[in-house]
Structure formats: structure tokens, C-alpha cells
């Protein structure tokens, strides 16, 4: 009997250890980033967040152009993805809940999620960039093809599945008696969706948007292949730009000089903090919606 109690306790300890390890892992990651970026934190100071120059030659490292690029690409991607994913959520949550067509759509969206980032970048470089070039020529902008817009469109398709599945879940949480009440009062299905379902699920959808934003901000490969890699601060979505993740991918393996490398790690730390914050807020909103129903 004693041996089973020992193995019992050992097992439970093992489980607790599992929980401890994952918690410690997160803290370790954060601390590593913090410690490794210390030389940069010290040297760059607050100017890191407000300055606009990234110049390894003069050891000047400012993050603003890349924060701006990250936010710009993510927001544009978000706008596109939200419109498309709302359509998908409504389609699969209201109009085609079952059946062959529903399955096809659902599978298609899941497959979209499975395509690796680098493959998106590959396709973007060869197909999307020439199309954007035509657009740029049409409006008189420099016809790079690679641009913030190109990256945003790719990002939109990459976060679409995630956004659509959360949206579908939120819409399915809307109590059917609410919807049926509206229908029985003579509302058309689309009016029900527009005036009852979506407003009800509004906060959950907002949470889903935030979670997708977190996803978009961290995407690296597809973005770095089509964004043009220009390190200036620019709000021009038809021009080239750069994001935090793409910058790291470009310059990490060659960053000599302690401050240079530490600055790149500081960018990684910043990315970590921003995406974590957005994810946490998004999760809270989504959970609250799920609990309310």
C-alpha cells in the first residue's frame, strides 16, 4: 500500500511540475529577452520608442518606424479580414449551418490556416506584387509591387481563418430565442443578423478582432518577403515599409556590436509585450461574452 501512495504522490508531483514548467518557461522567456536587451535599454532609453532613425552605423536605434509599420499592416489586414471573416461567420453561423456547402467552406477556411507563412510570401511575391504594381502605376505611385498594402493583404488571408472561427463561435452563442423573437416579429433573416445577432455578439467579435490583431503583428516570413524592407517611418500604404518582426528576420544574424544585437532583442521584447497585451485583452473580452450567454 505504501508503494502506491508513493507513486501516487510522485505522479501528482509530476503533474504539478508540468504546470510549473510551463509557467516558468514564460517567465524565463520574458527575463531572457529583458536581460539580453539590457545594453540597448540602457543606451537607447526612451528615445527608442519615439525616435525615427534606425542606423547601425551610428549606433542609433529607434523602434518607431517598425512599430508604426507593424500597426499599419496589422490594422489594414484587420479591416480586410474582419469584413471577410464576418461574412464567413454569418454564412456558416446563420445561412449554411450544415450540409455539403457548409463543409466545403469550413474545410477551405481550415486549409487556409494550414498554409505556412513562407508559402504565402512566395505566392504574394509572384502574384500579388505584380497586381499591386498595376495599382501603383494607375495612381502614379512608384511601382514597387512590394509594399505595405501587399503585406497587409497577405496578412488578412493569414488571420482570416482564426478570425472567422472566433466570429462563428460568437455568433453561435447568440441565444436562439432572441433570433426567433425577431423573426416572429416579421424581420427578414438578414435584418435579424444585422439588427439582433451581430449587435449581441458585438463584444465577442471585438475580442476576436483583437486576438486576430495579435496574430497579425507577429507574422514574419510572408511580410518580410513582400513589404519592401524600407526602414523609414511612413504612413504610405502604397510604399515600402518594415515591421518589427521583419526587421529582426532581416538583421538578426548580422547584428554585430553589442548594442545593435541588444536593440534587435529590445524590438523582440517590445513585440512580445505588445502582442501579449493585445491577446490578454482580447481573451478577456471573448471570455466575458462566452460567460454572459
Amino acid at each position: 500500500m505504501r508503494s502506491t501512495r508513493l507513486s501516487d504522490r510522485a505522479f501528482r508531483t509530476g503533474l504539478v511540475l508540468g504546470g510549473v514548467v510551463v509557467s516558468v518557461l514564460l517567465i524565463a522567456i520574458f527575463l531572457s529577452l529583458l536581460l539580453s536587451s539590457r545594453p540597448a535599454l540602457v543606451k537607447n532609453g526612451l528615445r527608442f520608442l519615439t525616435g525615427t532613425e534606425w542606423n547601425p552605423v551610428t549606433d542609433t536605434f529607434h523602434a518607431l518606424p517598425f512599430v508604426a509599420g507593424t500597426l499599419l499592416t496589422s490594422f489594414v489586414a484587420l479591416i480586410i479580414a474582419t469584413i471577410l471573416s464576418l461574412a464567413l461567420s454569418v454564412l456558416m453561423g446563420e445561412y449554411f449551418k450544415k450540409g455539403v456547402f457548409a463543409n466545403i467552406m469550413r474545410t477551405a477556411v481550415e486549409l487556409l490556416a494550414g498554409i505556412p507563412s513562407v508559402v504565402y510570401g512566395f505566392i504574394g511575391l509572384f502574384f500579388l506584387a505584380p497586381l499591386i504594381r498595376l495599382l501603383q502605376e494607375a495612381v502614379g505611385a512608384p511601382p514597387y509591387g512590394v509594399s505595405i498594402l501587399t503585406a497587409s493583404i497577405l496578412l488578412a488571408f493569414m488571420i482570416l481563418p482564426y478570425s472567422a472561427s472566433i466570429g462563428r463561435e460568437m455568433i453561435s452563442l447568440v441565444p436562439s430565442d432572441l433570433k426567433e423573437a425577431a423573426l416572429s416579429l416579421g424581420a427578414t433573416p438578414s435584418e435579424t443578423v444585422w439588427k439582433v445577432t451581430l449587435p449581441y455578439a458585438r463584444s465577442g467579435i471585438l475580442g476576436g478582432i483583437l486576438l486576430s490583431l495579435g496574430r497579425a503583428m507577429g507574422e514574419t516570413m510572408a511580410v518580410t518577403m513582400v513589404i519592401g524592407n524600407a526602414n523609414d517611418l511612413t504612413p504610405n500604404i502604397l510604399g515600402p515599409g518594415n515591421t518589427m518582426a521583419s526587421l529582426i528576420a532581416n538583421e538578426f544574424s548580422e547584428a554585430s556590436g553589442d548594442v545593435y544585437l541588444a536593440s534587435l532583442i529590445e524590438i523582440a521584447l517590445l513585440l512580445f509585450i505588445i502582442s501579449t497585451l493585445i491577446n490578454v485583452v482580447g481573451k478577456i473580452i471573448v471570455n466575458r461574452m462566452a460567460q454572459a450567454s
Binding site: 508540468g18 509557467s23 477551405a108 505556412p116
Partner: protein
């Protein structure tokens, strides 16, 4: 009452038209969202499948600018990296998932779940930097191991959360029956609960593998790449995503063709995993 079609007044007809238009809009936008997928898949299949031949699958890359060669080292490299990542992440992930399912509401459980969910959202390139700082810098060596570790950290939260979710769906009656029969706690978990949730757990693992196999960013400064076949995880290793990245952005048509082929192989692996996941779920799932 009138016989035949009811006469509706103009306002209602307008609303019905609006209803149809809305439906059309939703359908149209949904197609805009999903038709590109078809396009991507078709394109990679057409371009990529034509590159696949025996030479492609078994030969090593040729020097820059020369024709011929293959991506055998990248295929093997990806397989080895995934094996390493799986060895590290599956035991830890499953155990952490069991812990969350069992003690999720405790203080440590809440902290752990928050940690795992945060880990899930960390961009993969940040994970790559961490693996560089933890393994590559101290060992003064790029290695398949550091790449595998980075992939493991990416796969871990997926496995943990899906294990927890699966186990939470198993009815309490199963546990209580086992305990009532005198089965010890460890045995109950390992021999009764886990097997019942096996399909869900395997699903989680396969999905995590699919995600890990496609990651490029963390491998750039950990596994590093090599033009040779390398089975030694303590040395640099090639991988499919990195090969695609390097070849796709090069100007050489031969390398771009190889990249399409590699993209095809990677896509086949990832999609096959997703489809197998579906089959596993539908066939093995124990219904309660």
C-alpha cells in the same frame, strides 16, 4: 382572402430585396475569402508537382547557378527537427494538459493556463531569438537541436491546450468508476482517462506538428541550414521552409522551381496532417 400569391406592399418587397442582397453580399464576400485558397493550392500543385521527380527527392542542392539538384537534405532536416520538437514538447505538453484539466481552478492552475495561452500568442521569431540566446550562443554552435527546441516551444501550448480541452470533455463518471474499483490515481489517469481522450490528444499533436513543420522564422538563426545531408542534431540542419525562403527570393529560375517543389512537399505534409487529424477525430473518437 386572395387566392394565389399574396400581395405585399412596396416596403416589404424592398426589405425582401434587401434581404436577398445581404445574402448575396455575404456569399460573395465569403467566396472572395475562400477562392484565393483554391488558387493557391492549384498553383502550387501545378507548378510544384511538375518539379517532383526522383532527383528532386534524393539529391542534394547544387552550387548556385547550376541546374539540377534536389532538396533531400531539407526534407530529412524537417523530419528530424519535428522529431526532436515532438520528443521535447509532447511529454511536457500532455502532462501540463493533464495538470490543467485536473487542477485548472487552483492558483497554480490559473497561472499555468495564463502562461500557456500567452505562450501561444508569442510570435515565432521571438521564440527563435530565445532559442538563439539559450542554446546557440552558449554552445557557440548552430544546431538542429536549437531549431527543434524553438519548434518545441511553439508546439507546446497547442498540445497543452488541446489535451486539457479533450480531457475536460471526458465525463466524471468514468473517473469515479475507476476510482471506485480501487484503481490508483496515476493508473486512473494513464490507463483510463488518457486512452479515452487519445483521439483528441493526437489531434492536438498532429495540429501542433503541422504548425511546427511550416515555421521558418525561428529556424533562421538556430538550425541555420546546410547544403549537405546532416543527421546530427548538434550541427546545422536544412529545412523545407528555410529552403523555400532562400530559393523563392533568389533570381535563379532553377532555384525557384525547386522552391515550388519544396512548397508542394511542405503543403502536402501540412495538409495531410490536417486531414489525418479529421479522420482520427471521426474514427477514433470515443463517444460518451
Amino acid at each position: 382572402m386572395n387566392q394565389g400569391k399574396p400581395v405585399l406592399d412596396a416596403a416589404i418587397r424592398a426589405r425582401l430585396r434587401g434581404d436577398g442582397a445581404f445574402r448575396g453580399l455575404v456569399l460573395g464576400l465569403s467566396l472572395v475569402a475562400t477562392v484565393p485558397l483554391l488558387f493557391i493550392l492549384l498553383f502550387i500543385i501545378i507548378r510544384g508537382a511538375s518539379s517532383i521527380n526522383w532527383q528532386f527527392l534524393t539529391e542534394l542542392p547544387r552550387p548556385m547557378g547550376e541546374t539540377g539538384g534536389g532538396i533531400s537534405n531539407a526534407i530529412i532536416g524537417t523530419i528530424i527537427l519535428i522529431i526532436v520538437a515532438t520528443i521535447i514538447s509532447v511529454p511536457l505538453g500532455v502532462f501540463a494538459g493533464i495538470f490543467l484539466a485536473e487542477s485548472g481552478k487552483t492558483r497554480l492552475g490559473t497561472v499555468a493556463r495564463l502562461s500557456v495561452e500567452t505562450l501561444m500568442g508569442i510570435p515565432s521569431i521571438v521564440i527563435g531569438i530565445v532559442a538563439y540566446v539559450w542554446v546557440v550562443r552558449p554552445l557557440k554552435q548552430f544546431s538542429g537541436f536549437s531549431g527543434g527546441l524553438a519548434l518545441a516551444m511553439i508546439m507546446l501550448p497547442v498540445i497543452t491546450l488541446s489535451t486539457e480541452e479533450t480531457l475536460l470533455m471526458i465525463p466524471v463518471s468514468l473517473r469515479e468508476a475507476a476510482l471506485a474499483l480501487g484503481v490508483t490515481y496515476p493508473r486512473m489517469i494513464m490507463k483510463v482517462i488518457l486512452p479515452s481522450g487519445l483521439s483528441g490528444i493526437i489531434t492536438g499533436i498532429l495540429l501542433a506538428v503541422a504548425r511546427g513543420a511550416g515555421e521558418t522564422a525561428p529556424l533562421l538563426f538556430t538550425a541555420f541550414g546546410t547544403p549537405f545531408m546532416n543527421l546530427n542534431i548538434l550541427k546545422p540542419m536544412a529545412s523545407l521552409p528555410q529552403t523555400i525562403f532562400v530559393y523563392a527570393t533568389s533570381p535563379y529560375p532553377e532555384l525557384q522551381t525547386l522552391a515550388w517543389g519544396a512548397a508542394f512537399v511542405l503543403l502536402v505534409i501540412v495538409l495531410a496532417l490536417n486531414i489525418v487529424t479529421k479522420l482520427v477525430t471521426s474514427r477514433w473518437k470515443i463517444q460518451f
